[in-house]
Symmetry: C2
Subunit: 204 residues, 2 copies
Amino acid sequence: MVRAKRTGRRTGNPDTRSEILGAARRLFADEGFESVSMRRIAGEAGVDPSLIHHYFGSKDELFMAAIEIPFDPAPEVAAVLRDGEVADAGERLMHAFVTIWEGPHHEKLLAVVRTSLSKPAMSFVLKQLFEHRIVKAIEATLGDKVDRIPVRAPFIASQVFGLVVARYILKLEPLASLGPDQLAATIGPTIDRYLTMPVEHLES
Amino acid sequence: MVRAKRTGRRTGNPDTRSEILGAARRLFADEGFESVSMRRIAGEAGVDPSLIHHYFGSKDELFMAAIEIPFDPAPEVAAVLRDGEVADAGERLMHAFVTIWEGPHHEKLLAVVRTSLSKPAMSFVLKQLFEHRIVKAIEATLGDKVDRIPVRAPFIASQVFGLVVARYILKLEPLASLGPDQLAATIGPTIDRYLTMPVEHLES
């Protein structure tokens, strides 16, 4: 019945874009980014697959739009990690992270995190963003210098998410008032340790 | 007007308890735990101060009831830190934390965290719980061996909150499946570093 109703909006309708986004959100949340095809999303939305390409370009871009993140963090992570030594990768990552978080997208990013942490369906989407975009960006840039990145990355994420909670949500002092340099110097080494500690025995 | 309406419920009314809790929640959120007196809460609730003692005992107990935490974490933290060396305090803390989180209060604790991270008024309450109960418990047990605990504690909190997010909310693998011993061995040293790193220059 719902499908029949949707068929009336196949082309040109201003609702088409949001119809596609809704279908993508449902399918990504239920089945995961990797296993959902563009064709499948088109079917669920009741539109021609070419319309998805028209509105969103790639599957990656559709994913970013579906989860309402203001920008794709993967290229930023890659850029920070590509140039420089592994030894201080944590400091550089932390410095860049804080700078981005305190830039023009701050309110929007905070809203995404609040929603992701309180609603299980959105938590799943944030998990996918991490696994599909961030881990791959780290692998692409550090993969030849650091082993077992998928095992290490969740530890890094735990410290980075925790910084978001402590600094931007709970505003614990003095952590909430420190500058990017101080945060990079104090929290960066934690990330460096997660990049270098033995993790062979932790593989599932 | 509201006050006048409440006066009719001074004693014996089954609503008295929730009336007191509501007043306490509002005042703790608006003004903070330290600055709100029991007398003030009684006034806001329109009840005699002796009734608060009757229902809740101490101000600490009223606070714990108001924020709907299933138990007070401060004695647990103190017990873990009291016996043993500072050198592996992080490992012991992490082991105890994971064990408590995975005990009978798991669902309730997760609900408290989800609410605290998504609603600003509840974030403020979680912040107070941390500053009023946890930091004081750490100071009472490690204060003679570790300097500047209020500066260090938010860093520890950032890693602990981040573990909650990565393991219990986002369920990032393999972090979500590791046992308490593995988590203590991998994340404990992060907490140990925050307890021992120089922080003089970070004081506000």
